[in-house]
């Protein structure tokens, strides 16, 4: 049987799930178990690359797994937005798996089989989200992602982890069942299906007031996008091991949230219709407030991972903002930001984990002068930080530019201000860390200093290099995404 895009779609789920079986079967042989994880990652990435090429050539593979009476079906359809999310998640998952091995072994973590098992199931769920052909399917995999990451968040198993996990599950399940699910069902009742349709499933068929209510349900129901005030699960999930944080922040979880947000904006309401919904403007305001407020809070945190978590909350709202402004350029900027932010943020997290593995330092104030003994780690951190801030020639520059260019309408101009303030705040809370590390005076005594395991250092270097590559690869990526926003007329 030769590879076809439809088969590839099925393999998106089959590869990680068989990987999960492999991890479980090999649980007594750690080396083989990790080999299974890496093999899964490589196979998945290869499959996604072939799918991306197929989608780029114009294919829109479709697969219906199950359909029940009443118009419910588990349907997968891959379009450029989903393809790029799948590519992002599978590439970073592979790197993150490499890193996990270094980190988990370096820290002698417990229950590693459960850890890798949950990881493979979670990536399967993320692939399901990426390939969903309708909101119903997307919702189901969205929930599967929450459930499969819960054991990861609580991995340490102590009281703190349990509390963090409880908040994680409560907020994510609470919002998704309480708001997101009714929004999906209401969409189903109003439109007769929940299919993603170019130009918008609901476009023009419902009143603006109705659309406003529905949009509010969606935006706050998609708790993974962490718009304020549903952001609290993210800092609390910081109790997890660092590879999990990287997975939450960069690979899949929050990205699935903002991806859903974008899908909703583009395919459920349609960009043209979005711009006429009164609530969209107010939600854009809330996103802008989230951006600034979360950056300010990040500034006040001394724990590095917590600071990064608040930074993520701020950055996620860029994407929500783009989806709410809903000009084609802003939406394109939002889509790009999903990718570019992921590469920058995963670098930062992996560096934080490497520092912790080597020195057990978690607070920013304790990192002075570390740069001399860990130059590679802090070098990667610097690159990642500059990318998040949005300086060329790093990947983070493009989406900020496009978001600003997409917000040039008179009513949206104010949001450019929010983006600028946020960038300045990014400088203030991120740059001092590497600067102090390189130029500050270490307060620890000299001697033989432990270094991070190699497997915890190479991955952040890879992703830091990735941010540079992505800066120059912007042309093909925009070309790839263009058909999504074409109905809005980007040339």
């Amino acid at each position: 049987m030769s590879w076809t895009p439809e088969l590839g779609l099925l393999l998106l789920l089959v590869i990680p799930l068989s990987g999960a079986v492999g991890v479980l079967a090999l649980s007594h042989w750690p080396n083989l178990r990790e080999a299974a994880t890496l093999l899964t990652g490589a196979a998945l990435l290869a499959n996604v690359v072939m799918l991306v090429l197929a989608v780029d050539a114009g294919a829109r593979p479709t697969l219906t797994l199950m359909s029940v009476a009443g118009g419910l079906s588990l349907n997968f359809t891959l379009e450029p937005l989903g393809a790029i999310f799948a590519a992002l998640a599978s590439a970073l998952w592979l790197i993150n798996s490499l890193y996990s091995i270094g980190y988990m072994r370096g820290n002698h973590a417990q229950d590693q089989t459960r850890f890798y098992l949950s990881f493979t199931i979670a990536i399967a769920a993320a692939m399901g989200v990426a390939a969903s052909g309708n909101m119903f399917t997307l919702f189901i995999f969205y929930e599967a992602l929450t459930l499969s990451t819960y054991p990861l968040v609580t991995h340490n198993g102590d009281e703190k982890a349990r509390n963090g996990g409880r908040i994680y599950l409560t907020i994510l399940m609470g919002t998704s069942i309480g708001l997101f699910l009714p929004a999906v069902i209401a969409t189903h009742v109003l439109a007769g299906s929940t299919d993603f349709i170019a130009g918008g499933l609901l476009a023009g068929s419902i009143t603006p007031a109705m659309a406003s209510i529905l949009l509010i349900l969606y935006v706050f129901g998609i708790g993974k996008a962490a718009i304020m005030p549903v952001q609290n699960w993210l800092p609390n999930a910081m109790v997890a091991p660092t590879p999990v944080s990287a997975f939450l922040h960069a690979v899949a979880v929050v990205k699935a949230g903002v991806f859903t947000m974008l899908k909703m904006s583009v395919y459920v309401f349609g960009l043209d219709f979005m711009r006429t919904i009164p609530a969209a403007h107010w939600l854009a305001w809330i996103a802008a407030i989230s951006i600034v407020l979360a950056s300010l809070i990040a500034l006040s945190r001394d724990n590095l991972k917590e600071r990064l978590a608040w930074s993520t909350i701020s950055q996620l709202s860029y994407i929500t903002l783009g989806a709410m402004i809903a000009t084609p350029l802003a939406a394109l900027g939002a889509a790009l930001h999903i990718i570019m932010h992921a590469w920058g943020k995963i670098t930062l997290f992996m560096c934080a984990g490497a520092i912790y593995t080597a020195r057990h330092i978690t607070n920013v104030s304790g990192m002075k002068g570390l740069g001399k003994s860990m130059p590679w780690v802090f070098g990667a951190f610097l690159v990642g930080a500059l990318s998040i801030i949005g300086l060329p020639p790093l990947a983070g520059a493009w989406p900020k530019l496009m978001l600003m260019m997409g917000a040039t309408d008179p009513i949206n101009r104010i949001f450019i201000g929010a983006l600028v303030i946020s960038s300045l705040l990014n400088v203030a809370y991120l740059l001092p860390i590497p600067v102090n590390a390189f130029f500050g005076k270490p307060d620890t005594k000299k001697g033989k200093l432990p270094t991070a395991p190699r497997l915890a250092v190479i991955p952040p270097l890879l992703t830091a290099a990735g941010t540079i590559v992505l800066f120059f690869a912007i042309g093909p990526i925009v070309d790839f995404l263009r058909p999504v926003f074409e109905s809005g007329g980007i040339q």
Partner: protein, 516 residues
Amino acid sequence: MSALLIADFLAWMPAWLLMQTAALLVVTPLLSGPIALILSRGRLAWIWAVVISLATFALTLILYAQVLEHGSVQYAFGDWAPPLGITYNIDALNMLILLIVAGMGVLSVFYGLPSVLKEIAPRDQAPFFAAFLLCLTGLLGVTITGDAFNVFVFLEISSISTYILIAMGGKQDRRALTASFSYLVLGTIGATFFVIGIGLLYMATGTLNMADITAQLHLRGDDRVVRAAFAFIVIGLGLKTAMFPLHTWLPNAYAYSPTVVGAFLASTATKVAFYAMVRFTLGVFLPDSPFNHAFLGFVLTPMAVAAMIICSVQALYQTDLRKLLAYSSVAQLGYMLLGLSIGTAAGVSAGLLHLFNHALLKGGLFMGLGIFALTYGVRQVQDLRGLGKTMPVTAAAFTVCGLSLIGAPFFAGFVSKYYLITAALEHGWWWAVIAILASSVLAIFYVGRMLEAMYLHPAPKTKGRSKKARTTKAPVLAIAPLVVLAVANIWFFFDASLPKGLADAAAMALLGGGAP
């Protein structure tokens, strides 16, 4: 199953069996009950019960094939044509319930042996299986019959044997005796109300055949006698269904009975009573009469919503695991009652679908708890600590059923909640949607408490646990049915066509017309 396959299957069956299936389905367990009593040894009686429950389930499947082939099956006892004789009338509605009752009967019997051997005194073991078979008979009889008085008779058969079954928990926990007694008092009141209602109905129409009653009511219309009959019947059945606030007997009855009884009753008894409620309110009484409408809208709806919220909160505060599940059952009955009270075909269908799924998942949860109780003496939420590691298979199956109870995707419970919300929205009842969702969120908490204790807390190292340490190895016989239920909970997410098809057909037959 393709239509051709069914036709082949039926052609292959002997003709006498096909003609008598409906009668045999009830007569087989009825006559086998006393025989189990004679087989004075526990294991022997168990083997007998296994054989009979399997035979009953096989008969149910044959009946199902006939229903699929012909749409419905009528059986007149002694060839006395209705409305003179007693008739059995099987359509999509009671077929769905029969499948659940017979299926859960088989699984419970298999599951029951370790529980019975441990929890019940040796001389009571054979009577236990006798009572179990009679209870099965009663539940099947209530469901299958087309005769209103017959419903009462079978209801009493099942109730009286249930009192015995619950009281047999007395060896483990003396509180089972008071639980059984209070159920006996309330159950008898319920049965009395029901039979008074039937009496009034007989007075008004001069017939006991359900179809004939409906026909007579069409001629006669709505009057005070009929309304009184309606009220008596609904309250009587409401007690049996554990409709809020008539549910007070249920938590203790489930919590102190032998574990196998809890599992069996939770997935069948209230379901059958709910079926009877649906049958009477929509199938026997005229669904479009104003009184009936008022009942559905103004009495049933608030009670359903109250059950969903209040009992979920109560479940949250239970420390006894089986009481927690019992309160959750009352809350889940609220979902089914809500489906009925929406009163559209889509609503009734969603309620029936939830009934089916809830039987699978609650049966599984009670079985899981039973296994934990057998091996580690688990009774309280905190006793679950560390079991995720020591008993991975049971814990995994328990988790599946728990997630299904929450209504998480990939589990059957999600499908029925989805349809229920859709039905409520289509009917314009957005506030009901809020109630459903609030109750689901509460379910996250009370199920989450159990799962958290199971997986995230280390097993206590105090001597309390080591003393109580595994008395018996987890019996395969008990785990197998649990795993079957867990798999079913996943299966019916991906392919809900069997219960959905029956539920849709039933709802359409009851409410006439309009695709759900």
